[in-house]
Amino acid sequence: MIKAFSRITVSVVVATVAAFLFASMANAAGPYTINENTLYSAGGYYPPIQIYNPGCAGNYCRYLVQDSYPDTWRWADTKPNMYQLWVYRPLVGQAAAKYWWLTYRYGTTKDSWFVTVDQSKNKGTWAYLGFADYVPNDNGELRLSEACVPGYWCGGLKVYWDNMKYNTSP
């Protein structure tokens, strides 16, 4: 009886430790955050303007106003084997915007798709942009421009670049 009780006790302790270790391994694969201060041009001339606002993740966002000559700016590269991706909808969001997600392997584009996010809705939550069809990959990138999206209000609204986050599939 005592032996069985000891076995169960040790098992529970070991199970807890094992679960913690597995969870730690998973956490090592993210989530990683890339903020808007890493932006660089992917076909953009005018850089997004930085603002301070508590409604932005980390209190800062960048924005461009919708116009007829959209500029495309991208966040910094992700680590290899990027898997799932989210982007933050700041509380100051106004416009619908089209995000473009790419992953690469050996210099070749693998995943390439567009997801429209209406930044005026579901504010203060993370918009899910999906997960990669191609893992392993060498890196991924996320692009955004202030171009109008058909069917949504067009003209004069601010399109925001805020934090993106992703995890990797180790």
Partner: protein, 259 residues
């Protein structure tokens, strides 16, 4: 305990730990879950969460009006055909002729955004996960407000219409305490639940949820206490036979170099 007892215990413990983690129970325990709702609102939320399971194809017309500053408005009409799990077409036309028109097409493999003004298109791939519904929460207990899971095909629909057709993200991203079931109304001859979602005292939405399918028949959004968007179906046909050619890239369009 002898050496053999330790070995058995540790092996059993490791197996238990692996099972606990791999089953997803770990993340379930840690994830922030929404409070359980009871009463009629519970039925409303469940119906909306599961709405994509209640129809196979949709066809009809919808209209959205955006209300900008200085009493300006922009209105778009949208003719649409959707065939689950991954085909769709939405023809968007500006009523004011502002040039922000377009056609969105998914043929189940590729997604095309057509610019009707200059006859160009961009092409993206419809990823495999767009037809994988296993991550969608189907119950209130599975919802996570901070990180709502959109319908995987709806993510790729580049039109406000997706908020009507696939309301799961709207429901998940609401604080449940912000939802009020006001009553029942009839739209397009269909019985609806009229629900108000209050995100703050100045930002709120009114939605009309079809009682039999869970899709939204109308969605009115207010920002800063002013109306911002009024989106609704003008006609709606459930499970019609749709010509497969509808989802093909029309001739006469050339690819545009993406930015």
């Amino acid at each position: 305990m002898r050496k053999r007892d330790w070995l058995i215990s540790i092996t059993f413990g490791l197996a238990l730990g692996m099972l606990f983690f791999s089953s997803g129970a770990y993340s379930t325990v840690l994830a922030q879950k929404q409070t359980v709702v009871t009463g009629p609102l519970n039925q409303v939320i469940l119906t909306a969460l599961n709405s994509h399971t209640q129809w196979r194809a949709l066809q009809g017309e919808a209209e959205v009006t955006w209300y900008g500053p200085n009493n300006e408005t922009q209105t778009y009409s949208m003719g649409f055909e959707i065939s689950q799990p991954g085909k769709g077409r939405i023809d968007t036309k500006s009523k004011e002729g502002n040039g922000n028109d377009g056609i969105w097409i998914s043929d189940g493999e590729n997604i095309y955004d057509l610019n009707t003004a200059d006859k160009t298109f961009t092409r993206g791939v419809l990823p495999a996960f767009a037809k994988d519904f296993s991550r969608l929460p189907l119950s209130i207990a599975d919802m996570n407000r901070d990180m709502p899971v959109p319908h995987p095909f709806a993510m790729f629909i580049s039109s406000p219409l997706r908020d009507l057709i696939y309301p799961t993200e709207f429901i998940q991203s609401a604080e449940l305490s912000s939802l009020t079931l006001v009553g029942e109304e009839t739209i397009l001859g269909r019985k609806t639940w009229f629900v108000i979602r209050e995100d703050s005292s100045t930002d709120y939405s009114k939605i009309w949820i079809d009682k039999s399918t869970g899709i939204l028949l109308r969605y009115v959004q207010y920002m800063d206490d002013k109306i911002w968007m009024d989106l609704s179906f003008k006609s709606l046909d459930f499970n019609p036979a749709i010509n497969p050619a509808t989802f093909e890239l029309p001739s006469g369009y050339r690819p545009m170099s993406t930015p």
